[in-house]
């Protein structure tokens, strides 16, 4: 059994799986059930001036019959008075002293407002604070959430105000609704953040009901943009985490969030620089019990890899994530179809023929049986055929390591020296 415990900027938890600040962490009852199920930490549903929510709040996208490929909400922060939440946080912490409880906070961008809430929350005993600069809907219209999270100066200033009084580690939760997330991440670090967490939800409109012409969801015939999360956002979140992780001046630990549904997803985020992960949609889809497989799967994976600690995973892939210009142009992969495994659905053929480089041939063998073959010389190694292939192992992308590595940057600098008319280099 590997050591699954993690330490995020001083916040310790028995495993890296935390519930993100959202409906699963609304109340003491829920968070205690979650800890019993195995979750290592919870970021309490965002505290602030209690709101009033609308009814009809969530919606989800179904893809080819697969429910909850993506999830959307127009819910706001907690609608319960601060005292009620604090009492339940206190009780929960008492029952689960070794689990991480982080209070998520959102108030107006005023110094005294931040000071007030930080002091009140820390007084009852939490392991850390998470500043919610993320929610893209509702709160943003009131100048909070992503409205302040999109402006680097506001991020820096508010983080700074919090740091003036905070005694526990401060995590700044970033919004993805910005062109370059490293700008606000950097601002958070400048403001003194001990850690950043990302991503919050992405601006979205789930759909339009083609029968009633209403938005999905609608509130009495009217709709508004919501926040998108769940499996569909994972690649976006992973990139944002990676961009922060590889940024030389964003040197605080990261809590990864966005579409994490199982232990494999969690490992990917950790390899890309997350010290722990936060989960919302997967728990909302399946209940708290899914953490059991997350823990078990991570543990088995670590044992298999011969790693003693989950923390050993953190950041291992970061150095491999680089600029396009530093990729080797001479590296080649080419598809090879394995006739023993191929079931002849021809999906690779038609996708390559219609939409890629026309390099798969449909041939007949000596017995008149049809088979598919890649003209490897014409194959550009785009991977499309192996992506659409329904059978594992039927298409291999064969690697042809380059004899001479040449990146685009190298080539450009060479070309710079070779502009016509200049002196010979070769």
């Amino acid at each position: 059994m590997a050591d699954l415990s993690v330490n995020l900027a001083g916040i310790k938890s028995p495993n890296p799986f935390w519930l993100a600040s959202a409906p699963p962490t609304n109340s003491g009852y829920q968070v205690q059930r979650a800890f019993e199920a195995g979750w290592g930490g919870a970021v309490w549903k965002t505290l602030g001036d209690p709101v009033i929510n609308v009814s009809s709040r969530f919606s989800a996208s179904t893809f080819n019959g697969q429910k909850v490929a993506g999830f959307n909400n127009i819910e706001l922060i907690t609608d319960r008075p601060l005292e009620v939440n604090l009492k339940e946080i206190y009780e929960t912490k008492k029952k689960f002293p070794n689990h991480a409880i982080v209070a998520s906070l959102m108030v107006e961008p005023k110094q005294e407002k931040w000071h007030e809430i930080v002091k009140k929350v820390e007084a009852i005993g939490v392991d850390g604070l998470e500043l919610n600069f993320g929610c893209p809907h509702g709160m943003a219209e009131r100048g909070m959430g992503s409205a302040s999270g999109q402006v680097p100066e506001l991020v820096e200033k508010q983080t700074h105000w919090v740091k003036e009084v905070a005694e526990t580690p401060v995590i700044v939760k970033l919004t993805p609704n910005i062109t370059d997330v490293t700008a606000t991440a950097y601002a958070a670090v400048q403001g003194g953040a001990d850690s950043i967490s990302l991503i919050n939800t992405i601006n979205s409109l789930m759909g339009v009901d083609i029968h009633s012409w209403n938005t999905i969801p609608h509130v009495s015939g009217k709709g508004t943009h919501g926040g998108y999360c769940g499996p569909a956002v994972k690649p976006i979140a992973l990139n944002m985490v990676a961009e922060c992780a590889r940024h030389p001046e964003i040197n605080v630990p990261i809590s990864g969030i966005g579409g994490i549904s199982n232990w494999q997803d969690a490992i990917e985020f950790m390899l890309m620089g997350s010290t722990n992960v936060q989960v919302c949609t997967a728990a909302m889809h399946h209940g708290f019990r899914i953490v059991e497989d997350m823990i078990d799967g991570l543990n088995n994976y670590l044992d298999e890899k011969g790693l003693a600690r989950a923390m050993d995973l953190v950041g291992q892939t970061v150095s491999k994530y680089q600029n396009w210009g530093d990729l080797d142009l001479n590296y080649k992969v080419a598809a090879r179809i394995n006739p023993d495994k191929c079931i002849n659905c021809n999906k690779c053929y038609i996708s390559c023929e219609d939409t890629s480089h026309q390099c798969i041939d449909r041939l007949l063998d000596a017995n008149g049986k049809s088979y598919l073959k890649v003209r490897e010389d014409d194959c550009v190694g785009c991977n499309l055929c192996s992506i659409v292939c329904p059978v594992d192992g039927a298409i291999d992308m064969i690697e042809y390591p380059s004899e001479v590595e040449m990146t685009w940057n190298e080539r450009q600098s060479l070309l710079g020296k070779m502009t016509i008319g200049e002196e010979t280099v070769s």
Partner: protein, 452 residues
């Protein structure tokens, strides 16, 4: 199903025994299954379908909720696609070809096809239109799947079409011959209605050769298409065949589809002679009619049986017993002329015959008696020799001579399709789907001929 052995059968039970065995797919079940389809390119399922239904396309449309488009895809290629979804031996055709056989479970293509065509049956939509009138008249003799399919395509091509059908209703064996618990008559009749809606004139209760002469058709129509299928089950040629209690399998099945279900078979012991799909149908109908014991006797072995494996399984599950290498030699009656016993002889397999199957030969002194109340013969179907002769067409013991490209018989004006040409030989059973495809092709051949 309630059988005579277990409980006392009532008329209601009998009726229920003839309800469709397989349930419709539930909507979610259909969508889940449709989403499992890989949407193969140049899909083998489509190539395995005799009518060439674009299977991946109709399945994709189920997945997106476009049931109208799905039904249209199916019925466009196959005018009797609702029937076929229920009666096709799919494991031998589309489902047998599905690429997922190799790595998972094949897609339930037949069930999905049924789901989509059910939608069409439940919704009054016109999926097809008659073509621009061409001033040409085609007579079709026989309103089975071959005739209906041809009629629909000819109408879509703008020809005037009249079907002459001997029975009270059109649909051929779909309406009268295929057991209700696999194919309710309503499905076949709906398909007939679709053809009628396009403006095809269907004259039922009109036997060509009796009510109207072949000559009249030749004179009044530009082309005649013969799709009369095959006839009744021939006699066994043994003593006692005229006793009460001896039935023709096709007639027997027809009775279960056209008359009130009779209680006369409850508790009876029955023997069905033959081992094709028709024999299986008769045997399972007997069980469902309350017979206490039903045996299929066949002079060869399980190996040579022509029934499909899934049919054989179905019969065994219904409780039908099989006696291989058994040949009936005499039916023995009681004083009142009713079947009492069947005399049989034990067989063994000898040298192979022309079909390559080993010929059964009687074992000397092996004859024995079986106590039975009902004997059903299911040894194939006879041919409509009289009609073919009346048309003056060349044929080989009732199998029409046909030009495979033009669908023309020995008379250039007369075309043919379906069982009348290709129907059952000893090598295997005819299929509705093949009849439908041949009907389509004959229609195109006629159109080509009449358009030049």
């Amino acid at each position: 199903m309630k059988s005579a052995e277990s409980e006392q059968l009532t008329a209601v039970d009998l009726k229920r025994n003839f309800f469709e065995v397989k349930e419709d797919m539930k909507p979610k079940e259909a969508i889940d299954e449709a989403n499992r389809c890989l949407y193969c390119y140049d899909a083998p399922c489509m190539n395995a379908c005799p009518t060439g239904i674009d299977v991946p396309s109709f399945i994709k449309k189920i997945a997106t909720g476009n049931l109208k488009g799905s039904a249209r895809d199916i019925l466009d290629a196959n005018p009797v696609g609702a029937t076929c979804s229920r009666v096709c031996p799919t494991s031998e055709l589309c489902e047998g070809a599905c690429v997922l056989n190799d790595v998972s479970m094949p897609i339930r293509i037949g069930d999905l096809q049924r789901h989509a065509t059910n939608w069409a049956m439940e919704h009054e939509v016109d999926l097809f239109e008659p073509g621009v009138p061409k001033n040409t008249k085609v007579a079709i003799v026989g309103g089975g799947p071959a005739g209906l399919s041809a009629a629909r395509e000819l109408r879509r091509l703008g020809h005037e079409v009249t079907i002459f059908e001997a029975k009270e209703k059109a649909g051929g064996l779909d309406t009268y011959g295929i057991v209700s618990f696999r194919l309710p008559q309503s499905v076949s009749l709906w398909e007939v209605e679709q053809v009628e809606k396009l403006g095809v004139d269907i004259r039922t209760n009109c036997t060509v050769g009796k009510d109207i002469s072949p000559e009249t058709l030749k004179n009044d129509f530009d082309a005649v298409l013969v799709t009369v299928g095959m006839g009744q089950v021939p006699k066994l040629g043994i003593e006692g065949e005229d006793l009460t209690g001896v039935y023709d399998a096709i007639q027997f099945v027809e009775n279960t589809k056209t008359k009130a279900l009779t209680e006369q078979f409850i508790g009876k012991r029955a023997v069905v002679i033959g081992a094709g799909n028709t024999a299986i149908d008769a045997a399972t109908c007997l069980i469902r009619s309350g017979a206490r014991n039903v045996k299929i006797i066949y002079r060869r072995t399980e190996e040579e049986m022509t029934a499909y494996p899934f049919e054989f399984e179905f019969a065994k599950q219904d409780g039908v017993e099989f006696r291989w290498l058994t040949q009936p030699t005499k039916i023995i009656g009681d004083e009142s002329g009713h079947v009492r016993q069947l005399e049989c002889v034990q067989m063994m397999l000898g040298q192979p015959d022309q079909s390559g199957r080993r010929r059964p030969v009687p074992i000397e002194d092996s004859s024995f008696l079986m106590d039975v109340d009902i004997v059903v013969r299911a040894i194939g179907q006879s041919r409509h020799l009289d009609l073919l002769n009346a048309f003056g067409l060349n044929h080989d013991s009732g199998v029409l001579q046909l030009n495979a490209d033009t669908y023309q018989t020995s008379s250039a004006q007369i075309f043919a399709a379906g069982d009348v040409v290709y129907g059952s030989t000893e090598y295997g059973d005819a299929m509705v789907v093949s009849a439908a495809e041949q009907g389509k092709r004959a229609a195109y051949a006629i159109d080509k001929k009449l358009s030049c």
